[in-house]
């Protein structure tokens, strides 16, 4: 009996009883430097080991992070943050306002070549610093004291607190300027061991300000590129939670793993873009609407992509706080009326069975995109007699074709939002947005967006809704479906809450028993 404590101590030291969560990460992270990371897997990992002024709760809502609280002054153009007095780096140093300033200077310095720095452009002078026009010290961020930070924006940006939860705005320890990946971190976990393409082992950071509430002792993140491989490893008991599920396996998983399959709405939309900069879609609203009405979204969502995606008649996905889905042109029609209207519009647009529309549908190489393109082109052929040529291009070629707009007609498009706000989607269609690959230029729409930007609260959202309705009448894109997030989750895992941002920080999770 006496040897029991010794045995316990031994087992514990061997990690047998430590609570370790085994999570799939998706592809190998491209960098763990907060200013170089671009990929989703890298961003997710950085959120586990670091923290910004704001952070996320278990349900994906924005909550105070390093900042204990903040005031919004000057009609939304000034933010004043009070930092927590117990915010610590993993070596025990206090996190100060100067650590944020150090991080931001590096983020925006042209020499850093930070790929995501443009997220900080609402901040005064950030854009100018980024391109080297003014010195980094001119950025609108200032330490009023060691624990008080003031940030000035050029205009009110309602989603700004969410930008502060993105790694590009995180603080940097003084040691980080030399060795960004070796320096102390300030998140709930620290990196213990990293083997490329195999394992990223995190252990709990005892200096984290909420360390007392973190149930896990560590996380084994497995970077697995191939969703089929991830599924095998989940089924073999090597993973407690997957990053995604393989395409086309939804029904099988639903049948055999039922409750373990977690599907929920996500802030992403898939659409087909129409190039309004050239024929045949420029100045032919009837044609664009006819093509849209001829597509049966429920078939695309349920049978072609088939992982619980939601049919879409608009751009902004459901689930964003305060922004309710409205009826958009076409969604109210039953299928018979829809097809009839499509045919009428097609004739009005100047096409007929004898004089069919010939067009090209371009997508980036992926079996899923090919299936969607095939389904859409056959619907167009059956309903309207449109002759569609399918063209696939490698991603790097495709993004250039789409941006230049010289060869594109119909093309695969879509958007996954950086922040959960309707403007993240709708801004894409402003005349001057460089991501506007449809080349839609409409004064009314721009005006509605400008007006919305000058408002706040519910009035702003209502105005954005008007802009979206207007956009959908002009139809520069044909929305097909809204994305969903997909995970497999063992019943032993606690603390998971589905959310529209699909951000699940492990600091809120627990796992009942783990394999040795």
């Amino acid at each position: 009996m006496r040897c029991r404590p010794v045995l316990f101590a031994f087992l514990f030291s061997q990690g047998l009883w430590a609570a370790t969560l085994h999570r799939g990460l998706g592809p190998e992270p491209d960098s763990l430097d907060i200013h170089q990371a671009q990929g989703l897997s890298a961003i997710n990992l950085l959120r586990e080991i670091r923290e910004g002024l704001t952070s996320y709760d278990a349900a994906g809502n924005i909550v105070p992070g390093v900042a204990a609280s903040w005031q919004v002054l000057d009609k939304g153009k000034t933010y004043r943050f009070e930092l927590r007095d117990n915010a610590r780096w993993s070596n025990g140093d206090a996190v100060t306002a100067h650590d944020f300033i150090r991080g931001w200077h590096r983020a925006l310095s042209p020499a850093t070549l930070a790929r995501t720095a443009s997220l900080l452009t609402p901040v005064v002078n950030a854009g100018e610093v980024m391109v080297g026009k003014v010195k980094a010290t001119a950025i609108g961020i200032q330490a009023l004291s060691v624990s008080t930070l003031e940030i000035k924006l050029t205009m009110a940006t309602p989603w700004f607190p969410e930008i502060l939860a993105h790694p590009v705005s995180f603080p940097l320890h003084a040691d980080a300027i030399e060795q960004p990946n070796q320096a102390p971190v300030n998140g709930a976990f620290v990196v213990d061991k990293m083997t490329m393409h195999a394992l990223i082992r995190l252990r709990k950071n005892p200096h984290f300000h909420a360390a007392g509430s973190v149930a896990l002792d560590g996380i084994d993140y497995l970077p697995i590129e191939d969703p089929h491989a991830e599924l095998s490893r989940y089924r073999a008991g090597e993973l407690d939670m997957t990053e995604t599920i393989p395409a086309g396996r939804h029904d099988w998983l639903q049948t055999y793993l039922g409750d373990e399959l977690r599907i929920s709405p996500y802030i992403g939309s898939f659409w087909l873009g129409l190039n309004l900069g050239r024929e045949p879609f420029a100045d032919n609203n009837n044609l664009r609407r006819a093509l849209s009405l001829a597509i049966d979204r429920s078939v695309i969502a349920r049978l072609v992509v088939g992982a619980g995606e939601l049919p879409a008649w608009s751009i902004v996905p459901p689930g964003i706080d305060g922004y309710s889905a409205r009826e958009f042109a076409g969604s109210e029609l039953d299928s018979e009326a829809r097809l009839l209207t499509a045919k009428e519009l097609y004739l009005k647009a100047g096409y007929s069975e004898d004089k069919p529309l010939r067009t090209e549908l371009r997508y980036n190489t992926s079996s899923q995109h090919r299936k969607i393109a095939l389904a859409v082109s056959s619907m167009w052929r059956q309903v309207l007699g449109v002759q569609t040529q399918l063209l696939n291009e490698e991603w790097k070629v495709f993004v250039n074709s789409r941006r230049q707009g010289v060869v594109t007609q119909v093309f695969r498009g879509g958007w996954i939002a950086d922040y959960a706000d309707p403007a993240s989607f709708l801004d894409l269609f402003r005349s001057d947005n460089e991501l506007n690959t449809t080349f839609y230029k409409d004064k009314t729409f721009d005006l509605l967006m400008d007006q919305a930007a000058a408002m706040d609260g519910a009035a702003r959202l209502a105005q954005l809704q008007r802009a979206e309705v207007h956009l959908m009448q002009d139809m520069p894109v044909i929305p097909l479906y809204f994305y969903v997030s997909r995970h497999l989750l063992k019943p032993t895992v606690s603390g998971y809450q589905p959310n529209i941002r699909d951000i699940h920080l492990s600091r809120y999770m627990g796992v009942k028993s783990t394999k040795p």
């Binding site: 170089q36 790097k396 070629v397």
Partner: protein, 309 residues
């Protein structure tokens, strides 16, 4: 012999130079660049990036700059994995790929030759037919079909082995090595069988038998060496392919090897990474072919690499 070896090794240089030149310009001719993405970068930042990686120089200047780097074995930073240089990526991935490749090739060689000899000695019997039938299956069923079946049976249902991953331990090697070895085993078995049947009908074997030697001695001492000749010439290039990593095996078993860098690197226009892997692969092929030639000379007394040959 020494002179021959030296000459062969020096011959490596022009071959590699050709390889580097062709690969370098082919990569650059491909449309799209390493920094193209959906959200385009501010032009100033893109210009800085191009300057950092010397992409704003004229192509010829870039080429000679690259050659200068390669001469001192510096393959440069990776475009995709920004925390790593290509040298570091290869240093991490190559040992893994090599371990899997060497084990798989050894397994394939031992099992393949044994099966092939067994089939040849019992030519046109049931044993022969069933062995060659299985070998034919091994060649024709692709490994992306075999691998998931092995995972399903041995990892998911039985739970004997991990379904993927790499910790350097024996258990995590079994399935990838087995999958990679299967087609090569089958191929070697067929080669050995054909070669053995041919050799057994040749004159020197008839002489050996006529001397009254027991059959086992005839096989071991006289037949085995010439039988292995075609197998060895197959193994050289096959070995280079195996130890530089298999994309399929690496994806299915999530192994941190080199194979996926080829495809991912090319798709991401990660110029330096692709070039690094291409050069490594080229060196391996040339070296292994050289080794094959040496083994050939040892196995076949008719071949000697001297001044007059």
């Amino acid at each position: 012999m020494l002179r021959h070896s030296l000459r062969r090794l020096l011959g490596l240089i022009p071959t590699l130079l050709m390889l580097i030149t062709v690969a370098f310009f082919m990569m650059r001719v491909a449309p799209g660049g390493p920094f193209d993405s959906e959200k385009s970068l501010p032009p100033e930042i893109e210009a800085n990036l191009n300057a950092k990686y010397h992409l704003d120089d004229p192509l010829l200047k870039q080429y000679f700059h690259y050659l200068g780097q390669v001469a001192v074995l510096d393959f440069g930073p990776s475009f995709q994995y920004k925390d790593w240089t290509v040298n570091e990526l290869i240093a991490q991935g190559f040992p893994v790929s090599m371990t899997v490749g060497v084990l798989a090739m050894s397994l394939a060689f031992i099992v393949g030759t044994l099966l092939g000899i067994a089939a040849a000695l019992r030519q046109n019997t049931r044993i022969d037919y069933s062995l060659m039938g299985v070998a034919m299956l091994g060649i024709s069923i692709p490994n992306f079909v075999i691998a998931p079946i092995l995972i399903l049976v041995l990892a998911v249902y039985a739970g004997w082995l991990p379904a993927g991953g790499w910790d350097g331990g024996f258990a995590s090697m079994v399935l990838p090595v087995l999958t990679l070895a299967l087609p090569a085993t089958a191929y070697i078995a067929r080669l050995t069988r054909g070669s053995m049947i041919e050799v057994l009908h040749s004159n020197f074997i008839r002489t050996a038998r006529a001397k009254g030697l027991p059959e086992s001695v005839v096989i071991r001492r006289h037949a085995l060496r010439p039988v292995l000749l075609p197998v060895i010439s197959f193994m050289g290039p096959a070995m280079a392919g195996m130890i530089s990593g298999s994309v399929v095996i690496e994806r299915i078993f999530s192994i941190p090897g080199l194979g996926s860098y080829f495809v991912q690197g090319a798709l991401n226009r990660d110029y330096t990474l692709v070039m690094g892997v291409v050069i490594l692969y080229g060196v391996l092929i040339i070296l292994l072919n050289f080794v094959v030639d040496l083994i050939y000379a040892w196995l076949n007394p008719k071949i000697r690499y001297d001044e007059t040959s």
